[in-house]
């Protein structure tokens, strides 16, 4: 299956992915409701986006008491809005922190790969987010670890 491959070294922190994602998911430019989220590293000298890996366990999906999370034709785990009651069990079951709750709609929401044409990958000007048929992996761990030394050494942000 195709996944969102993240190449953190290429991220410039422009946040276009967050804008594109929130626009695609909610119809408004609202980064707070984006399901891909950019974090700063090394005192804002580098950045990387973080989103759902579409993990094989699907912790959110198995946790749902009413079967409201399913697998779409492109292999994404997605919330079926008219089944979701907003109980948030999925948000404590997901160990990655990539399923959220929208207090306005009272539903859970997450990355659904935009049905096979992810807006974040399309919007990224530096190809830091690529939609590709590769094995999903921990795209950010090494990058973040290398860029944490200064933060941890000085004992501040």
């Amino acid at each position: 299956m195709k996944v969102l491959k993240i190449v953190p070294e290429k991220c410039t922190g422009c946040l276009r992915c967050e804008l594109a994602c929130s626009y695609m998911q909610t119809g408004t430019f609202q980064p707070a409701k984006s399901v891909i989220r950019v974090s700063p590293y090394e005192g804002h000298t580098s950045y990387a986006p973080y989103t759902c890996t579409q993990c094989v366990e699907g912790w959110c999906m198995t946790a749902c008491p009413v079967g409201a999370i399913t697998i779409t034709p492109v292999g994404a785990k997605d919330v079926v809005d008219d089944r979701c009651v907003g109980c948030k069990l999925c948000t404590i079951a997901c160990p990655y922190g990539t399923i959220f709750y929208d207090p306005d709609t009272r539903k859970a929401f997450k990355c659904n790969l935009c049905g096979g044409a992810p807006a974040c990958a399309e919007a990224c000007p530096t190809a830091a987010i690529v939609y590709e048929a590769v094995e999903t992996c921990d795209w950010l761990g090494e990058f973040a670890n290398e860029r944490s030394m200064r933060l941890l050494a000085v004992g501040g942000r």
Binding site: A63, T91, A93, C94, G97, R106, C137, G141
Partner: protein, 442 residues
């Protein structure tokens, strides 16, 4: 002869077991389901109470679905006794069912505070669908609802009661609210938030009796003045349904003691969910985690093992989340371990609170409280679960989190928690979508 599986209980554990058997065997075995009630999800009853869903939404497996999964059903029947030597179960109507292996998933029931008058009309529990229907019928706009008990179950229906324009008073015998979900500081924060949102809370209040007077319920206390209520909900605890197993020889303590394959002391008898006392994945001890995620994981592991797989369960993780008036409250793992090293962060002006509990440089428990508008713009709820679940070593990040317990994300990512999590599965294979078992071959 195909194996004969017997599932007793159609709650989360029982249905996940059946679903998993069918995912594994495609319909090759015989499954019999005994259930006192038609299958529905208790988790969603609060949303039925506030009318945001129709009653039909609560049902988890219809008669047609169970037929498609090739399940023989005894719905509306209770298990009366188990004979593990003969591999038979007796029903309450005298019939006997033979099995090769059996899952006990009879769940728990609500218990009322033992005071005179607790069983009179207008004094409700909110646990089963029937009880939910009674409460729904009883609350009118302007009603004064008194909730006895300030635990998790009470709090799951708090928003619903307020949304029906009822006036709510919570009375709690303990000196504080949410005793088994958050610590004292967290409880004080939630209590202050609720008072600000018009909920009256009386802690340290010992209910002594309830009288019916002119269509109202009068609650009397050891100290203080009486309360007059239109409707009383007793959210005073739950108890596992185990009495019917007395004399079966199955080993029980707080629940049925199970091994890492969820087998009881009798290998052909499994237990799952609220009746099972199984491994805690954080402490390694044996415990009853009467929560939905444990029932689900237990049920899936039992289903796979019944279908012939050899699946060991890593242990359950204590966790809960509840929202009251747009304040989210969640806790994970051993957040209440008095021996654990712990540090906390408190931002009273945002009603935000974090507590992190440690064993060395591994997170063993966490509490997170915050307004919906703060919490869901972060990845922190799930990330705290991931850190407790994996027990990943956080090294120097521990000191960072001591300085700033709110800065979870960089610690999670840089500690390569994702790499640890990606290969983890409950059943040793990818999970199936909820629709899949309907494709069982007839």
């Amino acid at each position: 002869m195909p194996p004969r599986h017997l599932v007793v209980g159609a709650g989360t554990a029982g249905l996940n077991c059946i679903r998993t058997i069918r995912e594994e065997d495609g319909g090759a075995s015989e499954i019999t389901l005994v259930a006192a009630e038609r299958p529905y999800s208790r988790m969603v009853l609060p949303y039925y109470l506030d009318r945001s869903i129709a009653e039909s939404h609560v049902f988890t497996a219809t008669a047609a679905t169970l037929a498609a999964w090739k399940v023989k059903t005894y719905i509306g029947r209770k298990a009366a006794s188990l004979n593990p030597q003969a591999n038979t179960l007796a029903l309450d109507d005298g019939r006997t069912i033979e099995y090769d292996d059996c899952l006990i998933a009879t769940g728990s029931r609500a218990v009322k505070a033992p005071v005179p008058g607790a069983d009179s009309p207008g004094i409700h529990s909110f646990w089963t669908l029937d009880q939910a229907r009674e409460v729904i019928g009883g609350i009118k706009p302007g009603s004064h609802v008194v909730m006895v008990g300030a635990g998790f179950i009470a709090f799951t229906i708090l928003n619903s009661i307020l949304s029906l324009d009822a006036k709510l008073t919570i009375v709690e015998i303990a000196p504080r609210i949410l005793p088994r979900m958050v610590d004292d500081t967290g409880a004080a924060l939630v209590e202050a938030w609720l008072r600000k949102h018009g909920v009256r809370i009386l802690t340290g209040a010992t209910l002594t009796r309830i009288e019916v007077a002119r269509g109202k319920r009068r609650l009397k206390f050891k100290k203080g003045s009486d309360l007059l209520a239109d409707l009383v909900i007793m959210a005073t605890g739950i108890k596992p349904n185990l009495e019917w197993l007395q004399g079966s020889g199955i080993r029980m303590d707080h629940g049925i003691l199970v091994d890492d394959h969820l087998r009881s002391s009798v290998p052909s008898v499994y237990a799952a969910g609220d009746v099972a006392e199984g491994k805690d994945g954080v402490t390694g001890g044996h415990v009853v985690h009467a929560i939905e995620p444990t029932a689900m994981e237990h049920g899936r592991v039992v289903g796979a093992n019944m279908a012939g797989r050899d699946v060991a369960y890593r242990g359950s993780l204590n966790m809960n989340i509840v929202e009251v008036c747009r304040l989210d409250v969640a806790s994970f793992g051993a957040w209440d371990d008095p021996r654990a090293e712990a540090f906390a962060g408190h931002r009273p002006e945002r009603s935000a609170y974090r507590k992190l509990c440690w064993s060395g440089d591994r997170l063993t428990g966490a509490i997170i409280i915050g307004q919906a508008g703060d919490i869901w713009t972060t990845n922190d709820v799930g990330m705290l679960k991931g850190l407790v679940q994996t027990g990943v070593r956080l090294g120097a990040w521990k000191e960072h989190l001591r300085r700033n317990p709110f800065d979870v994300k960089p610690a999670f990512i840089a500690s390569r928690t994702t790499a640890r999590l990606l290969p983890e599965t409950i059943l040793g294979r990818p999970s199936c979508a909820p629709e899949l078992p309907t494709t069982v071959t007839p």
